[in-house]
Symmetry: C2
Subunit: 454 residues, 2 copies
């Protein structure tokens, strides 16, 4: 099968008019969620480091750095915004790429979209195009690709970003193939860096790489025309233990993964794999109303993949805490909630939480579904309860409501935007397909975070 | 073995005072060779595309874009200069990284070196430090890494570049480990792109990635501290069919690969794997003095690795011609020489050369040494000759003389620099260790190519 050629044709021919209505709805939700996370990331330490790094280049002001009051070159804006979007690991998730679809994708689109003053319709069209390309490639190489140690947000994210960038730049079929070829030589992102700033760096770097590849192809840069399926190409190098299943690409443009599988939005700002445990403990406490002091032991049962994602059994930093079943479960038990303020170094190293964490054990059950967890709890005096969560809140089969998504956006953006700017941006994002030019939206998002003005 | 920690300590402690004199001599030769290739690349189409792309960002003028009269951010200068250095595939080669050591390494050093106005001694020190780190990692994962399809110039080049950048920025041991961790998540470059502009993109992207990783670590960015040897880290993900041999890292700082194995400099501007065939045919014609019209058939015998590098049996572009045993051998037969002007689309598609190429066949002998070739030639009338080349000219065991290296630099740089600038830059490069500040050198190299001024 001529995979690269087929993907390029899909990108060139993709038209919002022919995409399902449900695709547009989910894409718009994902964009609002991603921008909320980006605004939140803007005021985190990593957001400050990367924006200062990018601003230091003092490049021609073309594309906005969200929450930092400055514009820069599109690929540098994509880098900074892509990192901020994933800074708190509160951003969306999809199973096609085994990772976060929007942080590599949307920043690339907005950076080029701002440069060319495109419409909301074209932003949505590019988003769905990029999402579908990343997802079908993900289906072809995952889960083996992820299990080997690659971070889909970075690797498949680069392919999403280049597909969307090629679409926005209106590259022709040959240029689009070149862009895919260049991007394939920029793909990286390794899971060993989970729990450090380099994890969010992955999505920003992917966004940047997609923009660069498309812009170079536009300028006449060349690459292998069959990079996806060629003997030493993308598929071969990034497969896991099994060869890619190119049949997954055949559906491209016929069915849309964004409607068939959807996108998950997180209610908790921690690794998606911690959510089932958080929910299970909250459910149990609601049902049985026991004080945390009475807990003797907790067993979390999940799959080996879940286990390998939650790298940190004894986290020392806020970042590591996000990838710790032990910390997230203990925090939920202690506070009956897990929120943004819980992932600081100080909170993770609190004496009280560390004591609770010592009561928690993992057990691996390879037969468990991805994301599912069974929590077995034993109380002093002998009481035992068990709670199974198959699909955590936020996943398409158990979705957040539109109101919950807007509330999350408001909560994430309040350290940067005024309440009138929040209202206006919600309005613009809800009606994005009617926006003739995204400049107004970008002019709100670029505003300097209130917490950074003094 | 604590590989990442050991490498970081080597980087932090490396001192030119304790390096072998031979290391400095070879490093200086490599730098002159690389800068000649960069000046040559500046006037090629790819050099024009990438410099215009970088200049378009209009970033704060800190680091020079060679041959283009402009300065930019260090990472953008590293990108452009790294691409130009590898544009013509005329640049140096080393077997540790199974690729080109200088194009990812030197541009990173010069970009940061110019920013901080460092001395020639510190440039040499950083060069050798980066080279040794890339080489020992290469020895640990090659040849399996390369055989799988990774391009060492890009992958190991990124690690060279980050090591040298960390050294130049005087990062401490912890920051250096972070920088290695960030860089590992930027490693890519796939051989399928050989024969296209994306091959030279690899070295520029590696140089850029190294600079970015070191600069982010300097600003407090975090990454996994044991990225090289950790279960899902660099070694695991970039190995080939065999696990890495970390024992190769044990020699770091005790012996120097740059003196034990050296660096090869190319006398022909084509893939190193084509050189044995070029030399064999030139030798045979010198010895037997036959006209090319008398040739009935030519058989080139080399290893399977050589075969897989020379991707293009029927090249259609000048770039592809560089990776074609058939074209290079036919060109040598026709012209008794292979030079810079031979790698244009027009020359590769010449009717006369295509006729000769039809007489050439490959035969694979897995037992042959890397780089070696046996050429069997049959003339009309029945005469048969054979010529074996084990080590082509330019390799440390059959080196170019200092005069030949200077002549190559002069030939490469003459489209950019005036003869007085060539003279002065040769003088500065020959005595690099005495230069208190590299600014004068960079101010020559940045000059706008004469061929671009009108």
């Amino acid at each position: 099968m001529k995979v690269t050629e087929k993907i390029s044709q899909f990108i060139v021919n993709a038209s919002l008019d022919e995409m399902p209505v449900g695709a547009m709805k989910t894409a718009k939700q994902a964009m609002m969620d991603c921008l909320g996370c980006t605004l939140l990331g803007a005021v985190q330490p990593i957001g400050r480091i990367i924006s200062e790094f990018v601003i230091d280049a003092d490049a021609r002001p073309v594309a906005s750095i969200v929450g930092h009051g400055k514009k820069t070159a599109p690929y540098l804006a994509a880098l900074a915004n892509g990192i901020m979007a994933h800074a708190e690991d509160y951003d969306d998730v999809s199973l096609g790429i085994y990772g976060h679809p929007s942080p590599p994708l949307l920043p690339a689109i907005l950076a080029l979209g701002e440069q060319y003053r495109v419409s909301g319709r074209r932003v949505i069209e590019a988003y769905i195009t990029g999402f579908e390309v990343g997802s079908c490639l993900g289906r072809a190489i995952n889960p083996a690709h992820y299990k080997r140690g690659w971070h889909g947000t970075a690797t498949l994210g680069t392919m999403e970003a280049v597909a969307a960038s090629a679409k926005l730049l209106e590259l022709d079929a040959s240029q689009t193939r070149m862009a895919l070829g260049i991007a394939a030589s920029e793909v990286c992102g390794i899971r060993q860096n989970f729990g450090t700033m380099t994890k969010p760096f992955h999505s920003g770097n992917a966004a940047k790489s997609g923009v660069v590849a498309a812009q170079l192809a536009q300028r006449g840069f060349t690459a292998d025309l069959n990079i996806i399926e060629a003997p030493l190409g993308f598929g071969h190098l990034f497969q896991g233990d099994e060869p890619p299943d190119w049949g997954k690409v055949a559906h491209l443009g016929k069915t849309f993964e964004i409607t068939t599988e959807g996108i998950a939005f997180k209610p908790y700002p921690s690794c998606a794999e911690t959510h089932a445990d958080i929910e299970a403990i909250l459910d149990l406490m609601r049902k049985h109303n026991f004080p945390h002091e009475d807990v003797e032991g907790i067993e979390c049962v999940f799959s080996d993949t879940m286990d390998s994602v939650m790298l940190h059994l004894e986290p020392k930093t806020g970042m590591e805490g996000k990838f710790s079943a032990e910390y997230c479960t203990a925090r939920a038990l202690l506070d009956k909630n897990v929120g943004l303020h819980d992932f600081t170094d100080e909170r993770v190293n609190q004496y009280e939480v560390k004591k609770v964490m010592q009561k928690i054990r993992r057990r691996i059950d390879p037969g468990m579904a991805m994301l599912a967890s069974t929590l077995n709890i034993k109380l002093k005096g002998g009481c035992q309860f068990s709670q199974h969560v198959e699909v955590p809140k936020g996943w398409p089969k158990n979705p957040l409501s539109e109101e919950e998504l807007v509330a999350k956006y408001r909560d994430c953006s309040r350290l940067v935007l005024s309440s009138s700017d929040i209202d206006r941006s919600v309005e613009l994002l809800k009606n994005l397909e009617e926006l003739a030019d995204i400049t107004e939206l970008m002019n709100i998002l670029v505003k300097l975070a209130a917490s950074r003005t003094h």
